[in-house]
Symmetry: C2
Subunit: 649 residues, 2 copies
Amino acid sequence: MEYNVIFQPSGRRGKVAEGKTLLTASHELGVDIEAPCGAHKVCGKCKVKIETGFFEKFGIDSQMDHLSPLTEEEKKLLKEDEIANNYRLACAAEIKGDVLVFVPEESRKADQVVLDTGKERTFKLDPAVKSYYVEMPPATLEDHRDDLRRLQDALKEQFGLENLSIDYFVLRELPNILRDGDWKVTASVLYDREIIDVRPGFVQKWYGIGIDVGTTTVAAYLCDLSTGEMLVKDGMMNPQVRYGEDVLSRITYAMMHEDGREKLHQAIIEGINTLAQRMTEKVGLTPNDVLEITLVFNTAMHHCLLNLEPKYMGRAPFAPAISAPYDVKARDLGIKINKAANIHVLPVEAGFVGPDNVAVLIAEEPYKQDDEIRLIIDIGTNGEIDLGNRKKLLSTSCATGPALEGAQIKFGMRAAPGAIEKIKIDPETLECTYKVIGDDKWHGRGSKGNAKGICGSGIIDMVAEVFKAGIINKTGRFNTKLKTDRIRKDENGKPEYVLVFAEDSGIGKDITVTQGDIRAVQLAKAALYVGAKMLMRHLGVEKVDRVTLAGAFGSFIDKESSMVIGMFPDCDLEKVHAVGNAAGDGAQAALLDKNKRIEARDVAASVQFVETAVEPDFQERFAEAMAFPHAVDPFPSIQHILDRIPGYK
Amino acid sequence: MEYNVIFQPSGRRGKVAEGKTLLTASHELGVDIEAPCGAHKVCGKCKVKIETGFFEKFGIDSQMDHLSPLTEEEKKLLKEDEIANNYRLACAAEIKGDVLVFVPEESRKADQVVLDTGKERTFKLDPAVKSYYVEMPPATLEDHRDDLRRLQDALKEQFGLENLSIDYFVLRELPNILRDGDWKVTASVLYDREIIDVRPGFVQKWYGIGIDVGTTTVAAYLCDLSTGEMLVKDGMMNPQVRYGEDVLSRITYAMMHEDGREKLHQAIIEGINTLAQRMTEKVGLTPNDVLEITLVFNTAMHHCLLNLEPKYMGRAPFAPAISAPYDVKARDLGIKINKAANIHVLPVEAGFVGPDNVAVLIAEEPYKQDDEIRLIIDIGTNGEIDLGNRKKLLSTSCATGPALEGAQIKFGMRAAPGAIEKIKIDPETLECTYKVIGDDKWHGRGSKGNAKGICGSGIIDMVAEVFKAGIINKTGRFNTKLKTDRIRKDENGKPEYVLVFAEDSGIGKDITVTQGDIRAVQLAKAALYVGAKMLMRHLGVEKVDRVTLAGAFGSFIDKESSMVIGMFPDCDLEKVHAVGNAAGDGAQAALLDKNKRIEARDVAASVQFVETAVEPDFQERFAEAMAFPHAVDPFPSIQHILDRIPGYK
């Protein structure tokens, strides 16, 4: 006997055989209902509401007694008011007549995840590590299969997973876990190939961390792999900075000291261990709950973290030890999360363009862009630039230096509470107002903002604002003739501008922008500008259609300020977007959707690397790009702003 | 142009195109010449001798100038007298005319290996770990493939190996190794899948160890995996004996002590580390040169070594944690050989029948036996018995106790220099003569043999001889009425027989056989006898056609002595063979030929386990089997010996 079953709100309908469960019916009719326990009546996730009464528009008579009676499990897993309101578990209720079923939002299977870290990105939720709840018959004298075989058979029968291997450290505890769970366990499987965790009973959630290991800043994202939700975001200075501020000085350190390589490796591994501990603790977990980490970084950091000999990368022909994506056991790296956990390292492109740029690409997906020419700038101590679209994609790398991350800047600091993130200077009064991270108010003279320093976005604002106010000129030199107590000489007799006076600051002294700060930013922005222009020349384009500004600043940089200082070639301001840490987003994307790893491998192989620093006119172009916004290139999109600058011709 | 090429001694001949090397010609004509360096003119292994002059019987005129001139590499790799005697390297000499080539024995490729550890066994030489010498173009600005890709490409082009992964600890050092070797390296690959070692230059040899971890004795065999040669044999007491003499007491120890499992694991791992260190040192190697270990043991030792929870194996339904063959990194077990080395664990059969019996089976191959019914007894603290042939194979396990390995015997010791391995007692004079390991002479009263104790084979001889001389009777009791100073009372007033007087021994005291020794051997031999009989009943046979006695005694046990004490049912003595440590041979077979691992997996799945100790008449049958040779069963094959025993009716 067959009955009419209709699922709402999708409206899918069809005939289903008597005795089948609503969950089976949903599969047959193509409706996705969440059932993480595998229809074992354990998780209570597959709640549906039965609509009763004769529904004329559907032509069926739906009644509660058109289903098998309420089971014991349902009485336990459904709340009283749910039972009163005709809720059932889809895995328990069997069809005995026509039914109209409403699937509430929370019971619908999420197969998409939205990353909301500045730019809203939508990915498929399909992690490399998945958890499966299985029930097994206990071992008996008649059925004395070994424990592993019993688990493998259950995973095969209940989820179609075949030929699964098992990590040694999981195997060790398997006999106890199977019996502790009374032959009901949740197994986590990597790449549908290897069992890397088994826990007694039904365990609904499992976790991973995406990490962007920048030269200066490490950004980490703890994610719930069952929902794709990002639970904790954390960051720290890269502990390797004590061995060198930039990539080359660290490679040199590794080469010059017998245990240099090991020290660099240990420093960042300890950093990651600290982050894993801190982040999991914040949400009541332990590092043992983390089953995978995805890692992105530039190629030098890639080698230093993995403890690969980095010295040959630092000199021609710059061959890395490995470019391919790589999976390694956390324990082999000394990373203290789950012992059997996987560390997935995204692929390297070429030369100094590393997995971090690959991560930016899989987050931004310019290879899916049809006609527009897109320029993507990932700002870091090592800057990466991509240009192109579906047809062709070029990339280059440039030595930006850490200025835009707050280093080499007198009052620079990383994006953390207390950091100035936005700055405005009135060109009339030359007074400064600013916003501090963790405080919604704008502060100015006489208003205690407790600022401690300036983070990346603030640094760009600060330079753009002193330029727009005429405090510095096109070449970056201070105009010391202006009448304001904010411009004065520093202890070395060099001019500086006071952003925050000591009495308003959180550090008991004036926070200033110095001539040295301006120079550091000029060098950084010129490197990015020239890199972009060189790529444009290689692609044969005069103008870019869209600019994406990425970087691990925490707070977003101001696109107008960035263009005013000339960080990238002219572009319609409407088409310029700051997206936050796209590399970190890429690390999360690879964590949450294993298909992004294939995309990463493919784009790493197809993107064309251009070595821009060896171009014959590089020095000359670099010198021109030092000026604000540029010595010769026109900036029609911001000409109206430039025209208003006092003294700017 | 093509020329006649003839290879001797195989006689293979054919036309070969001008310019091809003799090595290529040998491949075309199906002649196997050793060329481990992959024809790179590095190893000098492919030496061949050119026979010159007109050879009427072959119809060709072979001359030295029918080959390209001697290369620089040949001048370096061939000795002066070899060059004078027309030797060439087959990989260097190119064909320019008819040639008759003699391939000397040492240049012929060994694809078979003969294990001569008692019984001569022939296996294919096809190890799971193989080494490949490759040459790569160096990295340049035009070819900046990463190091791993470069190596993978070379292994693919030169040996057809595809999709190779690389162990993390090998990857770490890869950049230095490739450059140290000037882009010429030897890579070792596991299962044609994973690169587990890379060394600069051409490395001809690589190594593995086969280990039989007995409850009492550990036997290890260091093998050259390039030739199959067994280089060092070593052994030790299982260091776990301090936690219990037999399997059940060790499982109990693991259960009763919080860190019991860990202690048992550590003890045997340290033992293996000691053996690996000692054995490699003996031949000028280091443990780092060992790339694989194969392990066999009974199921309890399997769990204890791998640190798997053993407690559920010790009670019904006796389910092991894992039965399948298992590969695990040496480092994960704490085994200190090459860090990336593989540990291959042979499969478990069922219940207490472990990988050691699987090893015996792949060494003895009874499943290839056509009609004869074969009985295989593997004597150890835990005895294993197999019965059958190609059609059907049964196996069982019995608790023999450690007596036959020298434990529980007053002067028992393991088979090592100083151990008495053979004993004769004159039934007339009741005088004893004996042979000591490491000494070819027989010793008797007044001849200083420096014996320190008695090993397994000596224990069996000793019991058989005192029985044959009438010193003990059928029930094992001493006949104290005999006139000899060798029979006397021990410190507890129990009778004993002096094998060696203090003045002749190496320990300054008498070496004796006691009433307790006789009892211990009776219990052991009865367990084996009953096990065999129960299997015969299950198979429905009255008699066995062939008996194989295996065991890790070091020295071989005497088949007549074994039958006289009734260790197994009657069989034509001509068809009884002692084969030494067949389990150890099986461990080596699996090390040297990876196909034996597939055979092992298949036989583990097909052999039928019989639980003999639960048979209802077990106790009664056991009591009958305590007598020498047996209370009721006839022994026609040794009746003539029994008839000569004084007092034996």
